[in-house]
Amino acid sequence: MNSGDAAGSSSGGSGDAGAPRRASRKPKYSKFTQQELPACKPILTPKWVISVFLLVGVIFVPIGVASLLASNKVVEIVDRYDDACVPSNVTNKLAYIQNSTISKTCRRTLKVPKDMKQPIFVYYQLNNFYQNHRRYVKSRNDQQLRDASKANETTLCDPEKTRDGMAIVPCGLIAWSTFNDTYTFQHNTNNLSIDKTDISWKSDRDHKFGSDVFPKNFQKGPLIGGKTLNESIPLSEQEDLIVWMRTAALPTFRKLYGRIYVDLKENDTITVTLDNNYNTYSFDGKKSLVLSTSTWLGGKNDFLGLAYLTVGGLCFFLAFAFTLLYLIKPRLVAYKLSYTNRIKFHR
């Protein structure tokens, strides 16, 4: 910073130098001040290099295999319905979806490709929906969601802040656009009950969304963004909203809709009756319904196993390549012991 100060104060006339001290001013000896603390100094000897690569390979390949096996065990049914659920005679899909007078019930039949063990997770998947859009992700107010007394706190909620001068609860674009397609399932001919409890994080229900905060002035604007909330149920129990408000990281995402606690057999058919309400037609979004089992690794995901296998394989290859190199061009460590003679000169 200011080096002149140090010099100035030590040399200057501010008279703290005093009489010359006769005692030795030799700095105290310690391993620390002499920078001689005991230290370990690893060097990459061939032995080390090869062992590290081998070790990584040995660990990674089994993990890769296990991950692939786990991923293969997952049975997943994905059904994209956004196009199929619009009658083929409709040309303006946007007008169709915005017209609230038309019934948009749609029926889909799904075939179970393999046995599915309960619990079966029901997700809806949106493509091209940027829940991480800057404008969108900021448009919420967490104080209002938690605290009934802060209902009028709507900062950052633009452009969905107030309706006729009254604060909207929950305010903001995120809450406004809560997904509102609904699904009911029939297994073969029986109704298949879907459990919609505990689909959101417990921490969110307990601490983030107040049990005494009720929706107000919500979804009353000229443009309906999505789900309408029951004004008699507190926010902490509006689990669809809570799930939706955990904004997704990527533009293609799934959100948990519910769970089915029934085992499904191969070739069973499932009939889904759905209300196709949510507007993804204005921006080329896709909507899919996903039924999936789960393993210790989560859902279907081949990438992780493949990545582990690739990296493990690469390390085996490197171990091999380095072994070859060391054999072809051996250099005993410290071969330049007579350093002063053999030290190489640069330029």
């Binding site: 040399s11 501010s14 859009h133 601490h207 955990r246 990545a307 061009k329 012991l337 640069h346």
Partner: protein, 1118 residues
């Protein structure tokens, strides 16, 4: 007064000096005893700030750094609502933190200064109360004013610059120690004028009017006159005592304050050394520019892509839920101003988000690292000099790392290579050489029944002693006596009488400013001519047991033009003699050669012999002045010495007039002993690839002989000597020299494949010896280009008889023409210009005073410390700092690139998944501490290895640890690692329920672990402190993430708990870290094994040599 005390004629020309002062318009009139409020008071203020001004002034000072302005601009930008990326509080945090830390440090320093100011200002001094006669009352220093008469007792510090009026010594003598002023510990003598001394002893007070020059910085100059009792008395530098000095060996002294407070010479000189910037810091600017271009590139990419996205989706914006253009309460667009504006806003936001790519923390890290390095250099036992009790001192805190890149070392000779403790070795008297010295017991003098012995005895020549003691009537003996009388009288030495344990014994300590004079006075004493007492008017010399008083009628001080000094002495036998001593070149010009040619020739031969032995020579001469001659001189001398302005020139011309027709008495040879370990140190420096140049004021023969004795010159070298007196001949000899170097290069390059090392490998080496006279014609003319060419071809360069400014000129010759780093080392005032000119200036705490140290960047006690300083600390500092800068660039680039990749998946809207707090803490906390600790503590090689293989120093000279290639490599690693950190989780979590905060936490944690692992992989020595900081930082990051995700009001509440509960998270973390590190590890393994650097080989030797000592070297080379 003695018979020759000049009777003061009434006012030679009363108005002359008055007029001189008026013409300059630069004088101040001080009435003695009347405090004048007109001039600055004596309160000093070294503190910069007061409580009120601290904030604005400190901020102003801090914002003088351009980088801070950049960060401020970014912070201000972030306050605009349209652009705001971070919350307001969060964005201010890093800059505020940096400013705060610096402000606290400044405030602490300033409080210390305030305290010392207060202590200083409230000290008490005895001040003459006005309108009283001789009543001294205690007064605080800050209340002392110009004109006050102050009484100071022994060992007290002087409160202001004062003209001495009277002292406890009847002759008006006072001794002061100026250690606070210039670092010199020897005592200096100051005089009160006889007139004031007398007046004081008569009346008890002094009244008069004093005219002196305006305050200035010159410690060694002062001109004034004092009107007292109608007489005008001239005052010079020997009549003033300066603030900060201590009175010694004088019971009391009384003086009138002439300069007070901030106008005192010590305060005017109170400025630090010129600020230098380190090479690395300059190079760092280039990389900063590259990074700025990268930054702008990224911002343009993001904003253009955002524009394209908007263009493609222009018609969908209203009904798209995540955009919803309109605010229905107003019916207008919300925060959307058309594509053009949107691109611009995105660009600004991108600048804010990606600004960290230019690391703000780097600057503060560098400061901290340098502080730490400076601490360790100061604490190094190997840099402590027991004899002068001086530690290594880092005076400039910003060029530590330059010590590792030095290519040229310019060294002063006297006091730097040599001890500057002179020892009288031999004398040539009247053409006879007496040089067979035998250790002698020295002679003592009996004064008042006490035995006074000189502190040091020199070796005496028995023949000479015999001559002196036995037949004093003989002509030869008379000449010898004159010779020693000249040595004893013709100097400025003050004998101090010290007590010893034996009450009957006293020691005479000769104090003086020139070590040569001290040596000569001790020599004279050993031969029985003992200087016993000196006052301003006379000296008492014990001549072979007979105490005699010699009046000093006039003294012409030494100056570097005349290169000699002389005294005019009134002898007890009523004759007036002029004694002169000086350098041979100046003396032979004024010698009356016609009289005694043989004598002169013999002396010249002896001088030649002495200087080829490496001795310093002085020629002594005398002349008896006739009465008219004396009177003429006296008139002129009186007149000149009462002049206030231009006195120096007047005195010089009078000296030149009187110093002529000198009768040569003889010459002396003084040994200038080499310091410990100088030849070895020079050898090490040369092995380390540094060129050592010696710049000395000595004559050619002495310089060459010192060159031999410190092994810079060897017998197998070819010497090229340039020693000319005209420009043409200089040109000719330079051309010849150039031709010879070419010849030499051709001859040697045949045998050697390495052209640069040709001179090393082929037996003969060139040495260039240039003389100051020739340099006059070479420096700053077109010839200096030629000199540069010749000098760089030679491996040894000696410059002799160079003036201080020429020293700087030679340094500039190299500094301006090459990129190589220069270091200048010296101990004297004549080295100051060279020390300030060189990239690195090193001062030696030596005998020649503290000016070199004051001007230097580093100071230490011995020349040989240069080796550990450069080879060990310099090497460490350079490699640590180089690595730290690169690492800081790398780690911030990695982080910024991770942020950048995410933007590609947010429709280019600069959302960051990583919370803003983590983004800000990333540079401040998550990654900064380990680099600082590693920058202070890591060492690539141990001290002993570095000292054993000086060639390892070449790593710094070749810029091996910081260059564009390494920067590019680091950036490529940052690119790879950011891709790994970003895309592995991206692919793993594609089409999943992952939330933004959870993924953000994974990215943040993975980045931190990866960059810390990179550091861990590059650390060479793991001691416990480094372990604590590296692993502790990762732990601290995890803790911070937990804390941030425990704040319910943030959207990320609970995210880290959920994601850490999944197996997938841990598997991802493992594969990210391993995949990110594989290339770095493979490159490291490959290069360390197949293209090892010198340092790598050194490390292997260090680690395995101990293990493999049993095996012979040859077995490694099958």
């Amino acid at each position: 007064p003695g018979p020759f005390r000049p009777s003061r004629r009434d006012q030679p020309d009363p108005s002359a000096s008055e007029r001189e002062l008026h013409e300059g318009g630069e004088y101040r009139a001080v009435a003695v005893g009347e405090p004048s409020p007109e001039f600055a008071g004596n309160a000093v203020r070294t503190a910069k700030y007061s409580a009120l001004t601290f904030l604005p002034r400190n901020l102003f000072e801090q914002f003088r750094r351009l980088s801070y302005v950049y960060f401020l601009a970014i912070t201000v930008l972030n306050q605009l609502p349209q652009v705001a990326v971070f919350g307001r509080g969060a964005s201010v945090l890093p800059l505020a933190f940096v400013l705060f830390v610096t402000a606290v440090k400044d405030a602490y320093e300033d409080i210390r200064r305030h305290r010392s100011d207060r202590r200083e200002n409230n000290r008490l001094a005895a001040v003459l109360a006005p309108q009283t006669a001789g009543e001294y009352l205690p007064k605080k220093w800050k209340h002392i004013r110009v004109g006050d008469v102050v009484r100071v007792a022994s060992n007290e510090t002087l409160p202001a610059d004062m003209v001495l009026l009277a002292t406890s010594d009847p002759t008006g003598l006072a001794h002061v120690q100026t250690v606070n002023l210039d670092g010199e510990t020897n005592l200096k003598t100051r005089y009160a004028k006889q007139e004031t001394q007398l007046s004081f002893s008569h009346d008890g007070h002094v009244a008069g009017m004093l005219h002196c020059e305006r305050p200035n910085r010159n410690i060694y100059g002062f001109q004034a006159n004092l009107e007292i009792d109608g007489k005008r008395v001239s005052l010079g530098p020997s009549n003033i005592v300066l603030r900060g000095c201590e009175l010694k060996n004088t019971t009391w002294a009384i003086g009138v304050v002439v300069y007070a407070g901030k106008e005192t010479k010590v305060m005017l000189n109170n400025s630090g050394p010129p600020s230098k910037r380190s090479r690395l810091e300059t190079q760092l600017n280039r990389e900063t520019v590259i990074l700025s271009i990268m930054l702008i590139g990224m911002c343009i990419t993001a904003s253009v892509l955002a524009g394209i996205w908007l263009l493609n989706h222009q018609r969908e914006l209203e009904f798209t839920q995540f955009f919803r253009e309109k605010d229905y309460t107003t019916g207008k667009n919300y925060n959307y101003y058309g594509i053009g504006m949107q691109i611009f806003v995105t660009f600004l936001m991108a600048v804010i988000v990606y600004q960290v790519i230019i690391p703000i923390s780097l600057y503060i890290s560098m400061e901290l690292v340098r502080l730490g390095q400076a601490y360790f250099m100061g604490a190094d036992n190997d840099l402590y000099d027991e004899s002068s009790r001086s530690r290594f001192q880092c005076r400039a805190l910003n060029i530590n790392e330059d010590l590792g890149q030095i290519k040229y070392v310019f060294s002063d000779k006297t006091g730097t290579l040599t001890e500057n403790k002179m020892e009288f070795m031999c004398a040539s008297i009247h053409g006879v050489d007496y040089s067979s010295g035998k250790p002698a017991c020295g002679s003592s003098v009996v004064v008042d029944d006490l035995l006074w012995t000189p502190k040091m005895a020199v070796r005496t020549d028995p023949q000479l002693l015999k001559l002196l003691n036995n037949d004093s009537s003989n002509e030869e003996a008379k000449l010898v006596l004159e010779f020693f009388l000249a040595l004893a009288a013709c100097n400025t030495i003050v004998p101090l009488v010290l007590d010893t344990r034996d009450p009957k014994q006293k020691l005479i300590d000769y104090q003086g400013e020139s070590p040569d004079e001290q040596a000569l006075a001790y020599a004279a004493a050993s031969y029985g001519i003992v200087l016993v007492e000196r006052t301003s008017g006379y000296v008492v010399i014990d001549v072979l047991g007979d105490r005699q008083r010699f009046d000093i009628l006039g003294l012409h001080e030494f100056d570097s033009d005349r290169k000699r000094m002389s005294v005019i002495v009134g002898c007890p036998d009523k004759t007036v003699k002029l004694y002169v001593k000086g350098a041979d070149s100046s003396m032979f010009g004024i010698i009356n050669k016609s009289l005694e040619l043989d004598n002169v020739r013999a002396t010249e031969a002896h001088l030649h012999k002495y200087s080829s032995l490496g001795l310093r020579t002085l020629v002594v001469g005398m002349r008896e002045l006739s009465q008219p001659e004396f009177e003429e001189w006296q008139l002129a001398y009186e007149k000149a010495s009462t002049a206030v302005l231009g006195r120096g020139n007047l005195l010089r011309s009078i000296a030149a007039n009187v110093e002529c027709n000198i009768h040569i008495l003889g010459a002396s040879g003084i040994e200038d002993k080499l310091q410990d370990g100088v030849p070895e140190a020079i050898e090490s420096l040369r092995q380390a690839g540094m060129k050592v140049w010696i710049l000395t004021g000595d004559k050619q023969e002495t310089a060459i002989s010192i060159g031999y004795s410190c092994k810079l010159l060897t017998n197998d070298m070819t010497q090229i000597v340039i020693n000319n007196n005209s420009k043409e001949s200089c040109k000719r000899s330079l051309e010849e020299a150039l031709a010879r170097t070419k010849e030499h290069r051709v001859a040697s390059s045949i045998g050697s494949p390495y052209p640069v090392l040709a001179s090393e490998s082929s037996g003969t080496v060139l040495a260039l010896i240039v003389d100051g006279n020739s340099l006059v014609y070479i420096l700053e003319t077109e010839l200096q280009e030629e000199l540069f060419k010749v000098a760089t071809e030679c491996s040894v360069v000696l410059c002799c008889r160079v003036a201080p400014l020429q020293k700087a000129g030679i340094v500039a010759l190299i500094k301006n023409r090459t990129d190589d780093m220069t270091l200048a080392i010296g101990d004297g005032a004549n080295d100051v210009s060279m020390i300030q000119m060189a990239d690195v200036g090193v001062g030696i705490n030596g005998q020649e005073g503290g000016q070199a140290v004051m001007a230097s960047d580093f100071s230490m006690g011995q020349f040989r410390f240069l080796v550990p300083l450069l080879l060990v600390h310099g090497h460490w500092n350079y490699q640590r700092m180089g690595y730290m800068i690169l690492y800081n660039f790398y780690k911030n680039a990695t982080f910024v690139l991770v942020l950048f990749w995410y933007v590609l998946y947010t429709s280019f809207t600069l959302t960051t998944a990583i919370t803003e707090w983590s983004s800000l803490l990333y540079t401040v906390l998550y990654t900064s501490l380990p680099t600082i600790v590693v920058g202070i503590l890591d060492k690539d090689l141990s001290k002993s290895t570095l000292l054993a293989y000086p060639k390892l120093y070449g790593s710094g000279q070749r810029n091996e640890k910081y260059n564009l290639n390494l920067f590019v490599l680091n950036m490529l690693e940052a690119l790879w690692q950011s891709l790994v950190v970003f895309y592995i989780p991206y692919f793993a979590y594609r089409q999943s329920t992952i939330g933004m905060s959870s993924l953000g936490d994974l990215w943040a944690l993975a980045s931190v672990i990866v960059v810390n692992m990179q550091l861990a992989m590059d650390i060479i020595r793991w001691n416990w402190i480094i372990h604590v900081f590296v692993w502790g930082t990762i732990a601290a990051t995890v803790i911070c993430l937990f804390v941030i995700d425990s704040i319910w009001v943030l959207p990320g509440y609970g995210a880290i708990y959920h994601i850490m509960g999944q197996g997938l998270f841990w598997l991802l973390l493992l594969i990210i870290v391993v995949t990110a590190m594989v290339p770095h590890f493979a490159i490291k393994a490959f290069s360390e094994h197949f293209v090892p650097s010198d340092i790598q080989i050194g490390r292997e030797i260090e680690k395995f040599e101990a293990l493999n000592q049993v095996l012979s070297v040859d077995s490694y080379y099958q």
